[in-house]
Structures are given as C-alpha cells and as structure tokens.
Symmetry: C2
Subunit: 229 residues, 2 copies
DNA sequence: CTGCAATTTAAATGATTATTTCAAATAGCT
DNA sequence: AGCTATTTGAAATAATCATTTAAATTGCAG
C-alpha cells in the first residue's frame, strides 16, 4: 500500500489545522473548507482521510490531548513521593500550562464543546479526562485530611478547577484577540507563573480553611452527645 | 395610536422567549422562527416589533439584566455600612443567585456571547456590568488592606468571579439538561446556599492569605535597605 | 358605525453556505 | 509499465434563514 504507514503529510496537516480551527470556532461554525485552506490541502481531503467531519473532530481532540499532555505532564514534573503541597503545585502548573499555552488545544476544544454541545466528543473527553480529574481529587482529599467527605472534596476541587479554567472562559489566552472579533472588556496581560502562583496560594489557603471547618465539625459531632446542625 | 403605550402582549412575549432562546443557544444558533414559536407569535412579529434580530438580541439582554437585578439586588440586601465581610457575602450571594437561578438569563446570554462572539452585545454588557464589577473590586480591595496593588485586587477578583461563574460554564444550572443534548459528566446536585457558602469561606481564606503576603512584602520592602524579590 | 392606524398573518423572496460525492488526473512504488 | 494510493476540481445535493410584502384583521376614536 505504497507509503503512509500512519500519518502521511496531508493527514497530519489536516489534523493540526482541525485542532486549531475547532478550538477557535467549535464544531458547527468550523467548515471543512476552512480546515482545508488552513491545512493547505484539497477540499476533498478530509473526507478521503477521515471519512467525515465528525470523525475528524474526534481524532482532532484526541491528538490535541495527546500533544498537550506530552508538553505538560499532569504531575507537573513533581515526583510522586514529594510532599503533597508540591504535588498540588505541580498539578495546577500543568493544568494552567495547558490552558494558557497557545499551542495546546485540548481544553479549548472541550470548552467549545461544552458551550455548544454536539455530543460527539463527550465519550472521548470523559474517558481521557476522568483519570486526571481523579488524581487531582485525591490530592485535594489528602490536603483536606481524613475527615473530609466526598462533598468537601467536590466543593474544593470545583473552586480550584474554576480558577484554572477561567482564563479560557474569558479568552485570555495569548493571541486570542487575533481571531476573536471584538476586544473583550477584561483582559489583563497575564503571565502563567504569576497567575498560577496566585491560584496555588489562594487555593491552599481556601483548602486549609475548609480543613479547619471539617475538623471542628468532626469534633463537635463526636465528643458531646452527637448533635447535628 | 390605539393601545400599546409600551410593551403590548406580543412584544413582551417575544422578549421573554428571546431571552430564553438566546441563553440556550446563543445568537447565531437561535432562529427567529424558534423564538416566535416559543413566544406563540407570528414569524414576522420580531421584525415588526424590533426591526431585526440584532436589535432584539440587545433588547433581550437588557431586559434579562434588568429582571435579574430586580430579583437579586447586587448588594445581596446587606446594608452599605455593614462589616466588609458581610458586604462581601451579600455580593457573592447575589452573583451566584443570578448565575444559578433558572429564571435569570443575563449571565447565560453573556456567557454565550463570550463563547461565540458576535460583538453585538459587548457595549451593552460592558456598560451595565462595569459598575457592579467595580463595586466588587472595591470590597476586595478593602479586604486586602491598604497596601494592596491593583494587580493584587485583580488576581483575587479573578479567583472569586471564576468560582461564581463556574456552574454556568459546566451547565450546572437547574433544568439545564432538559435542553442540553448529552448529560454532562460532572453535574453534582448543587444547592445555592451550600455552594455559595463554600465559595465565600474559601475566598475569604484566600484573600486573607493574599493580604498576609502583601503585608509581609511591604515590611520586607520598607524596613531594611530595600531588597526586592 | 365608519374609517383609520396599528397589528397580525401567510406566503414568498432571495441569497447563502457547506457537506459529500465523483470521475479524472497524478504520483509513488515494484 | 502497471498497479494502487492519493489528490484534484467541480458539481451535486441539501438545508436554512432573515427579511419583505401585501392582504387580512383588530380595536378604538370620532
């Protein structure tokens, strides 16, 4: 079968163009024609190599995710036996790195999909993201101490993720305004390390406070004749 | 001129249908036909009463914002001379109320606009939101103490807003799954008071930590022969 | 009750835009 | 040279919508 074991030039160019295009405009607003122009290939190439647009969408997200994690390992390069605060820092740096890195498209595509759902991507995203989410949750649980309930963990994880994903919600990625029509009202010049450091300190303080509350709640519920709420 | 001083039945019905429709699918994906079906009016009624779709979009957001604030006053019902923590709590309750209340559409429409910008709404949104944003910033500044820089305030405000808006990003508003195709992976049963209380405690702790850092930074920069970083 | 202006209606206009397919051309390999 | 994988350009196919128009209707003032 000639060349093309996997990923001949055209194929790869389409894939890369697709990740960019889908991350900017989402599935519906992106046209195959646009992708092909960006990829420098013929209009028919997408259907030839990927069958249809939906399949390309899935493959593009897979590829974006793979490359994103390759560049920003989820543990942030921190050893698994490092102190929990260090492991926490590593995770946040990794997530925010992926969110803010203009070469990473996985979160952007996922965000577009959530904002204007097609349903095409939910299985793939869930399958790939869940393990990472669970690992972050485990670290948060560790920080909250042994008395933390699942709900405690969920609330704190929510606060943390919200902060990490926020720059994406407001299109504050570097270069975003080159393709986004109107200059958005709030767009501080942000610097990964500055923001990530802030998020880490802010969140560790929030978690410590939650832990205090959890432990005082546990004390109150144990020592005297148990009195709930 | 007959009846219709302002807002005859049809007009109001269109406006209400439009806020709902735009908040669900954004400007582009919403068709005039859809709005008219939802409003129970004729297809031509939008053009007759509002001129065109863009103008309806603007009017719909205006109306959604007005009603949202009417239901959830920005100060959360806390007196202006209350302690700053109380005023902070009031603001958060108000914002999260608006975000999570299924009858409020202002944040949802704004979020759709940000995710898939048309530019049509930016002026109106900015004009209406800025004062409120500034008021929250002022409270954060108060909490951070006199030594806080604009950047300190900005970072903390960002963390707070991120947490408040997060439920919207993940379509966790009550009833969202009735019109959103696929059930999203993470959708905890959330309760306004529970989540808002968490956000308030979490954020106050984060702010307190930031304040500590600001003040130790100020001490370090003053007393000894100034040594930065 | 008449006539006028505001509203509502149904149908059509008109213009656009995109995915997919196809048959022919090309290029690489043996 | 001959086979197969790819690339090409163009066309087929299809699906929509915002907006306009002219006719019908409504409600009120005179």
């Amino acid at each position: 079968m000639g060349r093309s074991r996997e990923m001949t030039g055209t194929c790869r160019q389409i894939l890369e163009a697709a990740t960019v295009a889908f991350s900017r405009k989402g599935f519906r607003a992106t046209t195959i024609a646009e992708i092909c122009v960006l990829a420098g290939t013929n209009l028919a190439s997408v259907n030839y190599h990927f069958g249809d647009k939906e399949n390309l969408y899935i493959e593009a997200w897979r590829e974006a995710f793979r490359r994103s994690l390759e560049k920003h390992p989820p543990d942030g390069g921190v050893a698994p036996d490092a102190p929990v605060e260090e492991r926490f820092r590593g995770r946040i740096m990794s997530i925010m790195g992926r969110v803010l890195d203009p070469e990473c498209y996985d979160f952007e595509i996922a965000h577009m999909e959530i904002g204007n759902p097609t349903g095409i991507l939910f299985d793939v995203i869930h399958e790939h993201m869940e393990p990472l989410d669970a690992e972050l949750d485990a670290i948060v649980r560790e920080l909250l101490g042994p008395r933390a309930t699942a709900e405690d963990v969920q609330l704190c994880s929510m606060s943390i993720r919200a902060q990490c994903l926020n720059p994406m919600v407001f299109s504050m990625r570097p270069g975003a305004h080159e393709y986004l029509p109107p200059p958005l009202p709030l767009s501080p010049k942000l610097n990964l390390v500055l923001v990530a450091d802030h998020v880490i300190r802010f969140s560790l303080a929030g978690i410590a406070e939650a832990r205090r509350q959890i432990e005082s709640r546990a004390r109150a519920g144990k020592q005297p004749a148990a009195r709930r709420r």
